[in-house]
Assembly symmetry: C2
């Protein structure tokens, strides 16, 4: 008997990279081009339920993502979050935030504070391939 | 010349524990009794800007907080988040969430989904001292 889980049954976004223990997906959330997720492959509910070596691997992968994001996408701030209330399968949101984005300085889950800026969103989207290319070069991949 | 920072100038909540590198505070956010913060003592903007040993210490402290919360407060889900858009001084939100809370399964920063439940909030508040006592026993403290 299996319980349906959105992150066991589907990638949860456009797959950028598959590693043995986790995958990185582009979240494709409208208004936030620099929104990625690090999804643990195995169904685990809470971060602290990972074995210590797995926690360290997860955290260091988040750090690689954040540092590459800071270099390539120059966000005002990076947001890291493992919530999982709706989908209790361990996944980290890694979101580059900008003073001009629709919700800044609120959380992306809060009410918008201004309209989207199509020109800036498009310019940011154009820089995602270089960011993703760095991730592909820096991180292990599933054979 | 110093730039004012809300987490350099004030604790950011009721202090539960001060360690050399970080402090744990109770966030005292209405409607969310199980809302704590792990605040890095030094002014650092992004998690990835910590030295590797400091990142590991920070992460393992989050794990102690999460595991103690699961044991003592039995949340439906723990939410971990380092946002810092408004106050870009590294701090992690550690929030125990419940199916009956005003925002579940939404983020605490989203719109409420139902009214607060005073009886359940009060019952949860009564269990915080045992949780905090475990943290004091499990974690290092500044002399």
């Amino acid at each position: 008997m299996s319980i349906a889980c959105a992150l066991c049954d589907a990638p949860g976004g456009r797959v950028v990279l598959q590693a043995p223990h986790w995958r990185i997906v582009h979240a494709q959330e409208a208004g936030f081009p620099a929104f990625y997720r690090l999804v643990w492959q195995q169904h685990v509910r809470e971060f602290s339920q990972l074995a210590p070596a797995d926690r360290a691997e997860c955290m260091e992968t988040l750090v690689v993502m954040e540092q590459a994001m800071l270099r390539h996408l120059q966000p005002e701030k990076v947001n890291l979050a493992a919530l999982g209330n709706a989908v209790p399968h361990l996944h980290w949101h890694v979101i580059g935030r900008y003073t001009w984005d629709s919700h800044f300085p609120g959380a992306v889950w809060a009410q918008p504070q201004r309209s989207e800026d199509p020109a800036r969103l498009q310019a940011l989207e154009a820089r995602l391939p270089a960011f993703e290319q760095e991730l592909l070069g820096a991180l292990p991949q599933r054979p």
